[in-house]
């Protein structure tokens, strides 16, 4: 056990400041453990979101020494023992209180995405799909909705183009549907026009922070951009594909959200 120092942002939508705390820390502790100890010993009302404490639910996203991370998977032993660890909420979304941000915008984006639309070919035993054809889709479905990728996306974080770009999290959601072997919806026009695929300038910051190691940029966003390019800028190839290619897909638009999820 040793005493460690923390600077934690305290405040709400009206403003706030960093406060200093010092707690006993033992072997194997993660940043979230230290926050819990601060709650118990010093400040019962320190607001933080968490759930599983094992990197599976994506609730405890925050910025630790400036880096967006899951606090339950960030070990204190990764930091110099004598250095103060600075903890603040993720920056790309409005603050509710202390380490808790209002991420409701993300839930609204998900509702704009046209749901999975399976073909009618399913057998009595369910859909017939081979593992190699679903590997990529399963990679995207590992997403735990921690929104760290949204937090570091320049289009959202620096340029605040929330109205034009849906963010990397939902590009992988769209890619997971677009590449699903049994989906019959054609989302290409919508990916470009409604969800803003053109705005991503491929800096790969989202991929770097993904705790699930999803290769967001190269495996999801770039292939979607390529499909958009084929459709809009190489119509001959697209037409040939449509005539002689695989399954026919019907075009779908984004869904206009109605406000039904409240944070």
């Amino acid at each position: 056990m040793s005493q460690r120092n923390f600077k934690i942002w305290r405040g709400d939508a009206d403003g706030g400041e960093f406060k200093d705390y010092s707690v006993e820390c033992g072997e194997g502790m993660v940043v979230l453990d230290a926050i819990h100890r601060i709650q118990t010993e010093h400040s019962g009302d320190l607001a933080v979101r968490w759930n599983c404490k094992a990197g599976k639910c994506g609730s405890c996203s925050m910025e630790i020494d400036g880096k967006p991370k899951l606090s339950c998977m960030t070990r204190l032993s990764d930091y110099q023992p004598e250095k103060t660890v600075t903890v603040q909420p993720i920056k790309a979304f409005p603050i509710i209180r202390d380490l808790v941000s209002d991420v409701s915008w993300n839930y609204e984006q998900n509702k704009r995405i046209h749901p999975f639309q399976p073909d009618e070919s399913s057998s009595e035993k369910g859909l017939v799909m081979h593992q190699k054809d679903v590997d990529r889709v399963q990679e995207f479905r590992k997403c735990i909705e921690c929104f760290l990728c949204q937090d570091v996306c320049h289009v959202l974080r620096d340029h605040e183009k929330h109205d034009e770009f849906v963010g990397p999290k939902f590009m992988i959601r769209l890619a997971g549907l677009e590449m699903h072997p049994a989906d019959t919806a054609d989302r290409i026009a919508s990916i470009r026009e409604d969800f803003g695929s053109g705005l991503c300038n491929i800096t790969r910051c989202c991929t770097d922070v993904c705790p699930e190691h999803i290769v967001i940029t190269d495996n999801a966003i770039i292939p979607l951009k390529e499909r958009v390019v084929d459709r809009y800028y190489d119509p001959v190839a697209w037409l040939l594909g449509k005539l002689f290619g695989g399954r026919k897909k019907k075009p779908v638009d984004a869904i206009e959200p109605t406000k039904t999820i409240r944070v």
């Binding site: 990197g55 399963q138 944070v263």
Partner: protein, 613 residues
């Protein structure tokens, strides 16, 4: 904080309110809304974060994709045997029959399960299941399921999700349900949901123990809401200790290590390197369990004539065996035993089949599970007992109040098979949604919420903020966890249970005087203070039921009453709230099972294999 009583609080009207947004709650909401009902979902966390997200191994359903001999009858028989025949028979039947269709429905809603070589939904082996039966996605099956249900539910007409909102009290109109009082965790304000049916899908109460796989949400809210509304709790003594939780480092103690590790070939070893599970095969399972390492190896290699390795015995058996090895001084350095997959499977297979286990041990314990054994030990994981419901409608004895998923009791009897939880929440979520719709179809007058209950609940909830001083709620919670880990653990006796009940009494006194500092806005200390009441109801009901059942059956082990006793074979322990506010415990004889089911449960496997569903 200022008192805003029933006269001026926010009111939201729904036909049905579902409390909890894990798999059971979402499935119930989908069923209810598909019957044309305006359905509100109230959840303590953000959508998609409930405990279902942490389920790892898979969802049990006799699809027969991996072994065509499987069918619902074999699944039903496995479930009854695993539950030591204390299960509510019709629930186990409905579960086994509906599970395959529910899994296929999830696929139609976008779930992408791992595939068989033929391109069908793949199925893996698990403890107590005769055949490979668990539809799965690596070791993140729960994530796949909750995300599928979430993405489907948000596009359903008539579902409205209220996130970060905690339910406090069921509100009645005479003997009928009329609403539920809740508060927004962010703003700290109260809200009255006016509705005529409530479906509880709140999960268990593992947070009453120190060593648990459960997250902060698992404070037994559903038990508390139902109990205070007049419903009964059944067989609360059956709390499942999952055999394999992490034991080191201390900060992660209790976090789950999936049974999939053993399903995929992992073995348990003591400090002497002995594969000790061969010494713990119960007589009832001896005929279906390998009796030598040689046979167990043949099973792993795919020999269909070989019997299953003893590491895949039911969870109660494995958890007790580990406890005994540790007590006998053959434990690992940090008080567990070793779980070895590294010497059993190639590294790339381990990383593909168990990616999140690989990640979890690498990041949190600095152990590479493709090279070294894991240290594991029992962790409080699941409530078999819970709110008593009708098998078909999922309604409690309170008209309009329903329960499904972990918070309901009966389906799993004295012990739950791994994989039967994810299927349970789909099947009974669906039935509860339909049950609520059927109830509303027949309801004539519209019950109205009484303001007295609302006012009293608000006063009680705000008291910790308003009083000047009092005990620290976090420390009180830790005290409770120690009481349960010491007195109501995996092995129990009269003396320990009585002393735990006494300690709980004094904790109740302290809890009623607790102080939360700060305002009501997103204040975890206040939330903690409010959760003490459900935690204490949960703890007391488990302790009292455990004291009542004088035998050892499934997950309930009494060292002063070893072995299953015939007298208790068909007895349920029922808990309800007395008129004077005290906790009433009584024994009730179970009804004789329908003959058709009794026959199946006691059939030999050969009779059922290939039997038509």
């Amino acid at each position: 904080m200022g008192m805003n009583l029933s006269s001026d609080i926010q009111r939201i009207r729904h036909d049905v309110v579902v409390i909890g947004a894990g798999g059971a709650g979402l499935r119930a909401a989908i069923a209810s809304s598909s019957r044309g009902l305006d359905t509100g979902v109230v959840c303590k966390s953000l959508l998609g974060k409930a405990h279902t997200v942490m389920a790892e191994g898979g969802c049990a359903a006799a699809l027969g994709n991996a072994d065509s001999r499987d069918n619902w009858k074999v699944h039903f028989r496995d479930t009854m045997r695993g539950g030591k025949f204390l299960n509510q028979w019709e629930m186990a039947e409905l579960h086994a029959k509906h599970a395959p269709d529910e899994v296929k429905l999830l696929e139609q809603w976008g779930a992408v399960f791992d595939r068989t070589p033929e391109g069908l939904i793949g199925q893996r082996n698990f403890g107590g299941h005769r055949y490979p039966r668990l539809a799965h996605v690596g070791d993140r099956t729960g994530l796949e399921m909750i995300r599928t249900l979430q993405d489907h539910a948000i596009h359903q007409q008539g579902i409205q999700v209220h996130m970060e909102c905690t339910a406090l009290r069921i509100v009645m109109d005479g003997d009928k349900l009329a609403g539920v009082l809740a508060y927004w965790r962010d703003a700290g304000r109260f809200v009255l949901f006016e509705c005529n049916a409530v479906i509880l899908a709140t999960g268990g109460g593992g947070k009453a123990w120190r060593i648990t796989s459960n997250s902060w949400e698992y404070t037994g809210d559903g038990f508390d809401l139902a109990y205070k509304a007049g419903a009964e709790l059944v067989n609360m003594e059956f709390t499942q200790f999952h055999p394999t939780g992490m034991v080191w480092p201390p900060s992660v103690r209790g976090i789950l290590v999936t049974e999939g590790v053993r399903g995929d070939g992992g073995i348990l070893l003591n400090s002497e390197g002995e594969r000790f599970m061969f010494n713990y095969i119960p007589e009832k399972f001896a005929a279906e369990t390998a009796d030598s390492e040689e046979e167990a190896e043949r099973w792993l290699a795919g020999d269909k004539n070989a019997r299953r390795p003893p590491e895949l015995l039911t969870r109660d058996v494995v958890a007790r065996a580990i406890t005994k090895e540790v007590q006998a001084g053959r434990g690992s350095p940090h008080g567990g035993v070793f779980l070895d997959i590294a010497s059993r499977r190639p590294a790339d297979v381990i990383r593909r089949k168990l990616p999140s286990m690989y990640h979890q041990f690498k990041e949190l314990a600095e152990v590479d599970i493709t090279k070294d054994a894991m240290e594991v030990g029992p962790t409080l994981h699941y409530f078999m007992g819970g709110i008593r419901v009708d098998s078909n409608t999922q309604m409690t004895r309170v008209p309009g109040l329903f329960a499904c998923g972990e918070c309901s009791g009966g389906m799993h009897g004295a012990n739950r098979l791994g994989g039967n939880s994810l299927s349970d929440l789909l099947v009974f979520g669906m039935l509860a949604g339909n049950g609520a719709a059927d109830y509303l179809d027949k309801l004539e007058a519209t019950p109205q919420a009484s303001s007295e209950t609302v006012d009293a609940a608000i006063r009680e909830a705000t008291a910790p903020l308003n009083r000047e001083e009092g005990p620290n709620p976090y420390l009180l919670h830790e005290e409770l966890q120690d009481v349960m880990n010491n007195g109501v653990n995996i092995v129990r006796d009269k003396e320990g249970l009585e002393s735990a009940i006494q300690s709980l009494d004094s904790l109740k006194q302290k809890a009623s005087a607790v102080k939360a500092h700060g305002s009501s806005q997103y204040n975890p200390g206040w939330h903690e203070a409010i959760s003490l009441s459900p935690l204490l109801i949960t703890a007391e009901s488990v302790a009292r039921a455990a004291l009542a059942r004088e035998e050892s059956r499934g997950a309930h082990t009494r060292i002063d009453f070893p072995g299953e006793q015939d007298r208790w074979q068909a007895v349920h322990v029922i808990i309800s709230k007395s008129a004077d506010g005290s906790m009433n415990v009584r024994q009730e004889s179970a009804q004789a099972p329908p003959e058709r089911l009794s026959e199946i449960a006691h059939s030999s496997l050969t009779d059922l294999e290939g039997g038509s569903a």
